[in-house]
Symmetry: C2
Subunit: 193 residues, 2 copies
Amino acid sequence: MGTKGSANRQRIVDAADYLFYSRGYNQTSFSDISDKTGIPRGNFYYYFKTKEDILAAVVDARLIEFKDMLKCCENAASGPLERLHALVQFPLQRETQILQYGCPIGSLSSELVKDQDTEISQTRLTAVFDLLKNWIEEQLNKLGQSARGDDIAKDLLAKMQGIIIIANVYRDAEFLRRGINDIQSWLNQTLSH
Amino acid sequence: MGTKGSANRQRIVDAADYLFYSRGYNQTSFSDISDKTGIPRGNFYYYFKTKEDILAAVVDARLIEFKDMLKCCENAASGPLERLHALVQFPLQRETQILQYGCPIGSLSSELVKDQDTEISQTRLTAVFDLLKNWIEEQLNKLGQSARGDDIAKDLLAKMQGIIIIANVYRDAEFLRRGINDIQSWLNQTLSH
DNA sequence: TAAAAAATAATACGATTGTCTTAGAATAGG
DNA sequence: CCTATTCTAAGACAATCGTATTATTTTTTA
């Protein structure tokens, strides 16, 4: 089995991941990925049958990235509440990118719901949201919030998405920090009983 | 001065407005607009020099739409708090579209921050957000919240964007209604003192 | 090391993109 | 009514899109 090939495949996915994030899926062409990797445009067909296949691979890659992030949150704290706080604070580590390009899943999702053809990848994208939602619910369960777990998890995701959208539109780092702070206060208030 | 011409121009803008919302700006071609209006593709150049000019016209149209919406909120209620509630409730009137395509300004804005070339229209888009923000601040001023007006206005916008994003991703009408309800509770709580 | 498989390079394909031109039709004002 | 202007129809334009093919080189396996 070729090991060189899968390395090049990964380079394509990495370049596409970055470009889909910074320019958007539909605004990224094969030529763009070719320029960034040095791999000839026509060669992509060897690894991926269609552009949507590349998208699927990128979404899979982001799934892994977010799983790593959640693992990181689990390692950073032992208690469920502290882990939730770690999750909420994560955008601060990506402040520059967040302010420039928004949320890696939120913005891609917003773009893809408008594509009628890419239904397959759309379901994959909600899978990323579900990954986060399930993890949040897991922490809430440990805090005895199993009843309203689904609602609170969605609320938390909505709050984070909203903060990121506005911070992105106004390129307002201060608002991002304050917004995340407010979410943490809300978390403490909601989960103390 | 020709009156027929400006009518056709308006038809182009209307079709583009709908298509940009339902499919996205970059996923809408001149051919799409041509198909929807029956106006030959090559004819657009008579009214608009570039595609971005059409975008600018669409953004202007949405500015007017949102101004109308704000006027509608002003007519619906006499007090500033009630007017804010009217604004918050507005997405419920567009429930179907919101669930399908998201927010008309939020989603377009998310798409355009990623375009490096369309800076001009990007500033126009923040103008739509500013329109809302200024109106909200205006109501807050009347409620004696002039000090934290900017912060609260951004918070309100963020909350609405977040709710709409999640409701859109999960196509969850119930969450949309509950989320808006929660925003109203938050409004009452924040502005009562 | 020889045969098989995997990977690379380069290019061609039809379709579509946004842009632009031009000839003619409709409509206006004098 | 005639001229000038505004508008419409149709299509050409180069560039780029995603896709596909083929010949060749590299790597793996036996």
